[in-house]
Every structure is written in C-alpha cells, then in structure tokens.
C-alpha cells in the first residue's frame, strides 16, 4: 500500500446530542481511489466536512501529507491541495463555463498583486482543454446556471481539476445523473486518477460505481467504522449488507 496522504485518526463529531462520527479512523493512500460508503445518515458527509475544515472536530486528528489540518479553515486546506466537490452541485451560476474554470485555478501561491493579474493564454488553454475532457467544450461560453444538472456536475468536476488538487474528495459524484452520463463520468474520474495522478476519496451510494472504481472501501454505519477492505470483501461482508438493509 502506498503512503497515506490523508490520515484520519479517531475523529469524533457531534451536533448537540447527535453523534455523527465516533472515533472514525481511516487512511487514504496516495495515488489510489478510495471509497466511503454507508447508509443514509451514517456520517459520511460529516466526515468529509471534517476533513476539509468545514467545521471543527470534537476529538481526534486529521493529517494531510503528514501535516495536522484539523485546526485549519476551509480555504487554507483547499490551498494545500485538498479539494472537495459538493453533494448539491455548486458552480458559479451567473458566470459562463470558461469564467468558472478561469477563477478555479489553484490559489496556492497567490500573492496580493495576483488579484489584479490577467489570465495567461496558458490558463485559458488549460481551461478549454479540461472542458474538452469532460465534454463541455461546445458549451464553454454558456452561462453555467443554464446547464443541466448533470452538466453542472461535470463542470464542477472540471473546476476541481483546474485547481490542480493532490487529493480530490468527491461527495456522491454520480447522484442525480442519468445512467448514460454515469459511464462517461466514471471513465473520466478514472482517467483523472491515472493520467493526472490525483488521489481520490469518494462518497458514493451507487454500488456499481464504487465497486468498480475503488481499490479500497470503508463502510460507515451509525457514525462508526463498520468494515473496510477491497470491494470484493465489502460486497460479501454480512455486517455491511445488514447495515444497508436496516438489520441494526
């Protein structure tokens, strides 16, 4: 197994009396695709939000490339190269696709004067190339809000790639997309992993998708880690099947 790029160690998070995550530990190996599954309400999105710094955690530690990040805010973490997409797709609705892409460049080393920088032809070229990659090149000048939901998901994915992340956290990338488009998206996710070397950590409800893509899967239930292992093991794990069927 490659070195872990994200190490989550005994992370707990409660909202009032509701325990969303209880001592969850997991590791995302570099360069691989790792999956996170679990029934509704099992704490997957909470764990995602904890990792990207959306809210403080109650206990535990989260390390990114060996550095503790649980005390950093969202922007700082994103600038380290840990970028997430949202379950409810979020794009800049009133800007066109190319503008969405251009403003999504990595802000890792942005100095104050870069605020007033022009966009170099290289950036525009890369934006167009990535739009081509997700199949939105023909729509590059359309206002992003006018795209269909599936297209917005693709645009959000392209924006994430534009940010040159080291790790991409995808929250249900195929939710709400029609089955034809899903195959295309899986293919692109895998190519982003293999061609661009981006580590991926994916929350997914669609078992067909996650079993095909992930090399290693973690399963949460009731806020705790229930099982982990390669897809074949998880698929046949009785505890996982029970959790999904509601035997708990």
């Amino acid at each position: 197994m490659n070195a872990a790029v994200i190490e989550v160690n005994k992370v707990s998070k409660s909202f009032g009396g509701v325990v969303a995550n209880h001592e969850v530990s997991l590791a995302v190996p570099e360069g691989r695709i790792t999956g996170l599954i679990g029934p509704n309400g099992s704490g997957k999105t909470t764990l995602f939000n904890s990792i990207v710094g959306y809210h403080p955690i109650d206990a535990g530690s989260i390390k990114f490339q060996g550095e503790e990040i649980s005390n950093l805010n969202v922007q700082r973490i994103a600038r380290l190269g840990l970028v997430r997409t949202f379950q409810q797709t979020r794009i800049y609705g009133k800007m066109n696709c190319l503008e969405n892409m251009r403003i999504s460049i990595a802000h890792r080393n942005a100095a104050w004067r870069d605020m007033f920088a022009d966009y170099s032809p290289t950036i525009v070229e890369r934006a167009e190339h990535l739009l081509e990659f997700v199949g939105l090149y023909a729509k590059r000048n359309l206002v992003a809000g006018s795209l269909s939901f599936g297209q917005q998901k693709l645009l959000e994915f392209a924006m994430a790639l534009m940010n040159e992340p080291k790790v991409l956290l995808l929250d249900e990338p195929t939710a709400g997309i029609n089955p034809t488009l899903i195959n295309g998206l899986i293919d692109r996710l895998q190519r982003a992993n293999s061609d661009f070397g981006i580590t991926m950590f994916i929350v997914e409800h669609n078992m067909r998708v996650i079993m095909n893509m992930a090399e290693h899967i973690y399963c949460l239930a009731h806020g705790e880690l229930l099982a982990e292992g390669p897809p074949a093991t998880i698929q046949n794990d009785k505890r996982v099947i029970d959790a999904y069927l509601g035997a708990h």
Partner: protein
C-alpha cells in the same frame, strides 16, 4: 475597445465638457450628476459584482469630507479654535494654501477612507446577506453620531469650509471638473478591474461564496480590497462635495444615510446591478428625474422617487442594463443555448 465604444466614450466626454459651458446655471447640478454616477459605480462593486448589499457606503463619503476639511484647515490653523468659532472668525487662506490644502486633503481623504474600509471589513464581512446591510447601515449612523458628538471637528455645529479664492463662476467650474475627473477615473479603473482576475473573483463570491472558499480563493482579501476601492473614490468625492457646499455638518451633509445613502442603491438597481454601464445609466436617469420633480413637483418629489423605486424593485428587478441583456443577449457577448439538442452531444462515448 470597438469603434462604436470609442465614439460613445468620446461623445460622453464631449457632453461633459460642453454642458456646463452651455448651461452655466446648472453647473452644480451637472457636478452632482458626476458624483451620483460615482456613487452608483462604487456601490455596485460590492452590491452588484460581489453580492454584498451595503447600506453604509455613505460612511466613506462623510469620513472623506471630514478628513479633507481637517487637512485643509489643520495645515495652517488650529482646527479646534477654527471650529469653536463656528465660522465667526474670518480666516483668510492664501491661494497657495488653499490649493495645496485641497490637494493634500483629497489625497488623505481617499487613503484614510480606504484604510477605514479595510479595518471595518474585519468586523463587518463576518456578516452576510441582510445582516451585512444592517451592520453597514449601523456603522454609517454611528459615524454620524460620533462626529456630531466630537467638538474638535465642530460637533453638530459643523465646519465652514475655507473659501475658494476666485470668482463664483470659476469656482463651480473648478469643482465640476474635479468631480468629472474623479468619476471618469473611477469608471476606467473599474472597467480595467472587472477585466482582471479580481472581477471574476468578485462574481464568484456573489454566486457562491462557500464554493469559492472551498476552491481556496482568498475571499477575505478580495472583499477587503473591493470595499477599500469603493471607499477610496467615495473619500475623494466626499472631500469635493464638502468644498462645493462650503459648509459641512454630520447629519445632512456628511452622512446623509436617508438620501445619498439610499440613492446609491436605488440608482444602481435602476440601471442594472452587476454591470459596468448600469450604474452610469441608472444614476443619470435617477438624477434627471430627481431634479425635474424637485423643480416642478415640489412637495411631491419623494412620492415620485418612491414610486420609481417601487416600480423598479417590484416589476423591473434586473434594471435597465439587465433588461437589455435579456432582450439582446448576443450583443452583450452572452451565448444562449438555442437548441436543446446540443445538450445530449456529450452523452455519446
């Protein structure tokens, strides 16, 4: 710039030069028009481009006015003595003292306002949506009250400004030119600004600030600088306006939250927020309607303005430029999906 665009800009410039010479009686109104345009342009930086509706931008107008006045007086006299006399002492500024004081005053006003905006942004940008609007309104009202209670600057009694060393006709043309220059400089600065990464970042914050944060954008930095830019230009025009009226006091002249403070918003909404030309068109139309009703419908002027604002907000939210963009999208470089067929193209393997 396209050829038509150059012609348009030159025509406006020519009108700006010729109008005060043709109608010498209206020079003050024309100067006010340039100020109004600047009000709307600077309000739109946050309100239109960034999606933060500030009701307190007038704070920088008043603050700039006072900084400019204090500089003009303080360079050559004791400010406390000057203001304590409430204009009863006759202080003669030499020509050189006047112009040097004014120039330095305007520069300091602009810089000080930008700094105040940067400081305030630490506190106020923690608020979003309507809370930001109320917070900024509170800041403006507080500034007015604090100034009114501060005797060093004359408190509620105000300050009589140094007298312009020249003929009244020359004086009005002098300030007219400065207002016009400030407004035009502001326009071209914003025009350039919106073309850089800054413009896109502001729009990104407007469309989805959480997303912008999740993408690692330095949102606080952009918000702070955006407000400072607004404040910079408002400070200049505040200093100018104080000198044009000749007398400044906190409530009606320096921090007129209920008139200029609201006009900024109304003008931008009328013209179409989030566009470069919207504020210019909106301010012009609004100012003309305002002056006409003030002249011919005295007593009903606020009813007329109120009606204009209500119709604008209820039936015409996108404003004039917004409406034109919807009507003729291609002309504005917007592309619409004419056939839904394009949507399925990418589904093919």
């Amino acid at each position: 710039m396209s050829r038509n665009s150059i012609i348009l800009h030159c025509a406006i410039l020519a009108a700006g030069i010729v109008a005060p010479l043709l109608f010498p009686g209206l020079v003050f109104q024309f100067a006010m028009l340039w100020i109004m345009i600047l009000f709307a342009l600077t309000w739109d930086v946050l309100g239109g481009q960034m999606g933060y509706n500030s009701l307190g931008n007038i704070l920088f107008f008043g603050f700039g006015m006072y900084i400019c006045a204090i500089t003009q007086i303080g360079m050559f006299y004791n400010v406390a003595e000057y203001t304590a006399a409430f204009g009863a002492i006759k202080v003669d500024f030499t020509d050189q003292q006047y112009y040097v004081g004014l120039a330095l005053g305007l520069v300091l006003a602009a810089v000080a306002c930008a700094l105040v905006a940067a400081l305030l942004s630490w506190v106020l940008f923690g608020l979003r949506g309507p809370y930001f609007a109320i917070g900024t309104l509170g800041a403006a009202l507080a500034a007015a009250e604090l100034t009114g209670a501060w005797n060093y600057v004359g408190g509620g009694g105000g300050i009589s400004m140094p007298v312009f060393p020249g003929e009244p006709g020359v004086r009005s043309l002098f300030f007219y030119s400065l207002c016009m220059a400030a407004s035009i400089a502001c326009y071209f600065f914003l025009r350039w600004l919106y073309g850089t990464r800054f413009g896109l970042a502001l729009n990104a914050i407007r469309d989805d600030e959480d997303k912008a944060e999740a993408m690692g954008l330095h949102t606080n930095r952009y918000k702070m600088v955006a407000w400072s830019i607004s404040a910079f230009f408002l400070g200049i025009v505040g200093g100018l306006f104080g000198n044009m009226t000749g007398f400044i006091e906190p409530m009606e002249v320096a921090y007129p939250t209920l008139t200029f403070g609201i006009f900024m918003v109304a003008m931008t909404l009328l013209g179409g927020k989030g566009t470069l030309w919207g504020p210019v068109i909106g301010a012009t139309l609004f100012h003309v309607v305002k002056e006409v009703t003030w002249t011919y419908l005295l007593g009903w002027q606020y009813v007329a303005l109120g009606l204009l604002i209500i119709v604008n907000v209820v039936y015409f939210q996108q404003g004039i430029m917004g409406w034109m963009q919807e009507r003729w999208p291609q002309r504005f470089g917007l592309v619409v999906d004419s056939e839904g067929a394009v949507a399925s193209r990418e589904n093919a393997p």
